[in-house]
């Protein structure tokens, strides 16, 4: 079968390369750091590169929204109500005459902020708890794992909605809701990494040399656990964007009149039959941004851990 054959050939090629490396020594190849190496693999991956470029473009659009947007996002214009896409309004106007394109441009701010910002919160909560749990591997660990089991028994959407209903609408509260529900995955991952790292010889050596627990965790264990955590955070970005879009769709996310793509889909989908463009454009935008982040995340994972490639 060709799968096995190609795999065997790969391994064969690897051994000859090793031998060549032995004879020529390390002078044959310039020294590269892990990050340089990963960067080269990342930009060689076309899909990941395309995803990254789209993400950067949308980020720029979000940052410069006040300069780019042709109209204000919240001012109704009753002389141009529910117009189909035309020269003045490339994406049309909604039922109160607000320009859809301008609302889309401002909506990018929310998606970008939530997608990236929520990961910061998830990181700040999940990594310390996971690290503590994996480092001690004792009572804290048992409690955490029980807690995680209970968390997984709930439908996730329910929890997020409950928090939003309690805190009220707004960008800040979306951060909190996603952070409070999303840290569990990162904590579990960090814990698993720490559990395997703490058994490594170099940790024993560092401990024998008198390193304090704080130094052990921050200088020796965390750097080695960071790669899978970064990859998981990258995959958390489209999830957070999805959660925000879903919440705003339901009407408990962003605070109107501030537009978000999810809020626009939720507000406009009832007019789908007559004004299909209203809900379609933000829907495309959500899909585009989430796919770009996913492709970029895939590329990043392959670049940071070549062994994981094509698995």
């Amino acid at each position: 079968m060709d799968v096995l054959r190609s795999h065997r050939e790969e391994r064969l090629a690897a051994t000859t390369a090793d031998r060549a490396g032995l004879t020529l020594g390390s002078l044959a190849r310039p020294h590269r750091t892990l990050w340089r190496d990963a960067w080269h693999r990342l930009i060689a991956n076309r899909l990941a590169l395309a995803g990254g470029i789209v993400v950067v473009l949308i980020a720029l659009m979000a940052i410069f929204a006040p300069l780019i947007a042709p109209y204000p996002y919240d001012k109704p214009n009753y002389s141009a109500v529910s117009q189909f896409p035309n020269r003045d309004f490339p994406m049309g106007t909604d039922l109160t005459g607000r320009d859809v394109l301008s609302r889309m441009i401002y909506g990018a701010q929310v998606s970008m902020l939530v997608g990236l910002g929520a990961q910061v919160i998830v990181f700040l909560i999940g990594v310390p708890i996971g690290a503590l749990s994996g480092y001690t591997a004792g009572k804290v660990d048992t409690i955490l794992m029980r807690f995680v089991e209970v968390m997984y028994a709930f439908p996730q959407l329910l929890f997020v909605i409950l928090i939003m209903a309690a805190l009220g609408r707004g960008l800040q509260n979306i951060f909190i809701a996603i952070g409070v529900t999303g840290w569990v995955t990162i904590a579990r991952l960090t814990r698993a990494e720490f559990l395997s790292i703490r058994e490594k010889d170099y940790i024993q050596a560092a401990r024998a040399a008198g390193a304090s627990p704080w130094r052990l965790i921050t200088r020796h264990m965390l750097p080695n656990a960071l790669t899978p955590i970064i990859v998981a955070l990258t995959f958390g970005v489209p999830e957070a964007i999805f959660t925000e879009a879903g919440l705003s769709f339901i009407g408990v996310g962003i605070n109107p009149p501030r537009p978000s793509w999810g809020q626009m889909v939720g507000e406009y989908y009832i007019y789908l039959q007559s004004y299909w463009y209203l809900a379609l454009f933000p829907a495309i935008a959500i899909a585009l941004l989430m796919m770009s982040f996913t492709f970029f995340g895939n590329g990043l994972r392959d670049a940071l851990d070549p062994r994981m490639q094509q698995r």
């Binding site: 799968v3 209970v150 709930f154 209903a165 959500i286 698995r311």
Partner: protein, 310 residues
């Protein structure tokens, strides 16, 4: 085997107790009250009416009494009357809507299993070939396109554009079933395809696969006879939670296609603080999840005799 099932079912009791207690505490500890719902365009009630309602629903009693009363009634299968749909009991509402959601969910799951798993297998067999790229594209699409976005696309293309499907809404004829099933099924399909592919690739690197080839078996019997059994175990694991999530209805898909299922209660009952409804759907979800995980474990032991159920 029988003992294993029995023990797991007995374990379900403390789990459900924990779930219901946590829900109860969180529900009451967070700001907001069913007497003063925070849903948009809800009218504020005068204090006297609030007191009367509180007395009627037993919300004026101490919390532990409320919880014990809930437990006592729930054990008899009585979850009370919905605070929002005041004329029907929670049990009636769920008996009407849950079968619809389950029906939709099972069809979506069937789609995901029947397309996703073969796609993953074919991708693993033809690594880096066109089918492999198709598989990873579909998998990414399934993970990265939210189902409400997909639903909008489907409606615009098939209902408004091509006119292949005459209408959306309702749940009476198979025509109504097609689009919601696709919208709900693509996500699980992508996840299953990716899982199947990666576990099949892993299995096909094993030594016993080379042995099977060395014995002179053809590619078909190597894959179907030897690789499949081990390769399908990881995708099987995620089928449990997946069934629970898909089978209890999706708020978005059911709202957009106006399917009369229970999905909308996941958002609605939360916003309206419909306590009896929240408790009932969380417990329903919990039971469903636990039972599905049990079924998956049983399938596991059938597929892989090395796994002993204890």
């Amino acid at each position: 085997m029988g003992q294993f099932i029995l023990r797991r079912l007995v374990w379900l009791v403390p789990t459900l107790l924990a779930i219901s207690l946590v829900t109860f505490v969180v529900m009451h500890a967070t700001p907001g009250s069913p007497l003063q719902p925070m849903a948009a365009n809800a009218n504020p009630l005068p204090p006297a009416a609030q007191q009367n309602l509180a007395r009627k629903w037993g919300l004026d009693k101490p919390l532990h009494i409320q919880y014990l009363t809930f437990l006592k009634n729930a054990l008899r299968g009585d979850f009370g009357t919905s605070y929002v749909y005041k004329t029907s009991t929670v049990t009636e509402i769920l008996a009407r809507t849950f079968p619809v959601s389950l029906h939709l969910g099972l069809m979506a799951l069937l789609l995901a299993v029947c397309v996703g798993i073969p796609l993953g297998i074919l991708a693993a067999v033809n690594q880096n070939g066109p089918i492999d790229y198709l598989c990873s594209f579909v998998a990414t699409l399934g993970v990265a396109v939210p189902n409400f976005v997909l639903a909008i696309f489907l409606i615009v293309v098939f209902v408004l554009g091509a006119g292949v499907i005459p209408r959306t809404g309702g749940w009476n004829s198979p025509v109504d079933w097609i689009l919601p099933t696709i919208a709900l099924g693509l996500g699980p399909l992508g996840i299953l395809a990716r899982y199947t592919r990666s576990s099949m690739v892993e299995v096909m690197r094993q030594d016993y696969m080379r042995t099977a080839q060395a014995k002179g078996l053809g590619p078909r019997s190597v894959v179907l006879g030897h690789a499949l059994k081990n390769g399908l175990l990881p995708p099987l694991t995620i089928l449990g939670p997946m069934t629970a999530a898909v089978g209890t209805g999706s708020f978005f898909v059911e709202t957009l296609f106006r399917v009369p299922g229970m999905g909308r209660f996941f958002a609605e009952s939360m916003l309206a603080r419909d306590y009896p409804m929240i408790m009932a759907i969380i417990l329903l979800y919990g039971i469903f999840l636990a039972v599905m995980n049990l079924v998956v474990d049983l399938c596991y032991s059938v597929l892989d005799p090395r796994i002993r159920l204890t």
